[in-house]
Symmetry: C2
Subunit: 273 residues, 2 copies
């Protein structure tokens, strides 16, 4: 049984099932970032762990076209951490928040065996929220940046190697300025957290559509999780507009598919982490 899927379905209602929940002009999102599930302590410094926990949560707000404002923290911290270590984790969280103008307004802490970080982000929707649902036949599908590096980095870590502090697996690049600028022309969007193939499947399933690929994507691009690039779609008439904005922000833009009727079949090797 896929327990996460079971639970998500169990709590499903009209509002959730997206990166965040939209209520009264605000977007609320909450993700967990947990030791031995999402990271190992040998892979990253505590400061990097704190910063990544904050960034992956802020990512959810951005892809819904909302500006993150406030954060609530839920921290489980091992008793063995010393003051210096707690301060390092805290610095990462605060720096990650500050980079996006987010204020930490509260939270709760307990002592446990592992570092588990639960973050709730409260964001203000910019004019209109963008959901995963609403895709139309003939829309172009695109993603920002370059995919694959996160999985490659993970493979290095699994082999006992180390990653540079600027490696995407350590510090994702969020594309907020680019995305806010194109938002009015975007039909649907989500962040690529479980890999393009998996996330695209979800989006297509929700919209009961399929795709025709316009280019061949390698297995790294398809299967690399925790990329935090943006998967989005738009009417083909907005292609030049979006290409121009991407150029303005120096963001690589990959228009890789076109939506068609039918049912999408998951392809490529699935990446489980």
């Amino acid at each position: 049984m896929d327990k996460e899927k079971f639970i998500i379905n169990a709590f499903a209602n009209s509002i959730n099932g997206d990166d965040g929940a939209i209520v009264d002009g605000y977007c609320y999102s909450k993700d967990l970032f947990c030791e031995d599930v999402h990271f190992k302590r040998s892979w990253m410094s505590l400061e990097q762990i704190g910063a990544k926990a904050m960034l992956i949560n802020i990512s959810d707000a951005i892809v819904m076209n909302a500006t993150p404002k406030y954060a609530l923290l839920g921290l489980s911290l091992p008793k063995c951490l010393n003051t210096k270590q707690v301060r390092a984790l805290q610095k990462g969280l605060l720096d990650g928040a500050r980079e996006f103008g987010v204020q930490i307004i509260g939270g709760d802490t307990i002592a446990d065996n592992k570092i588990n970080i639960s973050i709730t982000i409260i964001s203000k929707v910019n004019k209109k929220a963008i959901f995963r649902k609403g895709l139309k036949k003939g829309d172009l599908l695109a993603f920002s940046g370059k995919l694959g590096e996160s999985l490659k980095g993970l493979n290095i870590l699994f082999r006992g190697g180390k990653l540079h502090s600027k490696h995407r697996f350590i510090k994702p690049s969020l594309r907020q300025k680019f995305f806010y600028d194109i938002a009015k022309k975007v039909r649907v969007s989500m962040d690529i957290s479980d890999g393009l193939n998996k996330d695209l499947s979800r989006m297509l399933f929700q919209n009961q559509l399929s795709v025709k690929f316009l280019k061949k994507l390698d297995k790294f691009s398809l299967n690399s999780a925790e990329e935090y690039e943006i998967l989005f779609a738009f009417d083909k008439k907005h292609k030049a507009f979006i290409q121009n904005i991407a150029k303005k922000h120096r963001i690589k833009l990959n228009i890789f598919a076109k939506t068609t009727t039918g049912r999408y079949k998951f392809y490529g090797r699935e990446h489980h982490f």
Copy 2:
């Protein structure tokens, strides 16, 4: 080192340090409810665990004079739980939410060794929020209901006994209707989660005041944690008004102290759980 205190101080800013954070007419609160920290699985059914996790979070919203509206869940669930068990936990969470008109709008789930529940409650402030700060010299201090049963129940559990499903330790009674009715005359408030003595000390410390007790309280009343009764203060001229509302709602009202200048000295035996 008291790690929780250290972290709370580390993240302190103008907004937090209360049961919830107030921003733009909304109250945001987040508490953790964790196996082997707040409960043992042998003490309560999974349904009771789910319901209590929800209620203790809703309690924070009520004491700030806010009406809880939405919840986000962060669940760590052991892989060994079967579908029936997950459904039981889910039923508890949903029933707890439904009882207060709260809609679960999103969240995240991971597989881990223990049941750790992190809940964020989004509430709408009723006219004006009530904080812990703002106490004045000469104010009367009161708490709702009767304190002590939670600690007595905990002692039974520690001795290997069982508690009735309506026992306060299993299912706290929240006093939302009473509290919303008296709110306009309430100066400061907080819920009693760590025991009257500890929580009162915090409130007095924040307000740089002390108290003169008007009656003697037994050690159970002073030290019982997880009561979720409300500790509040009001100008003595509102005494009759508050007594009347308590009578109307059939809530036992304990006006137990009067604020004075000076520094409060923690008294009685401290209850650690």
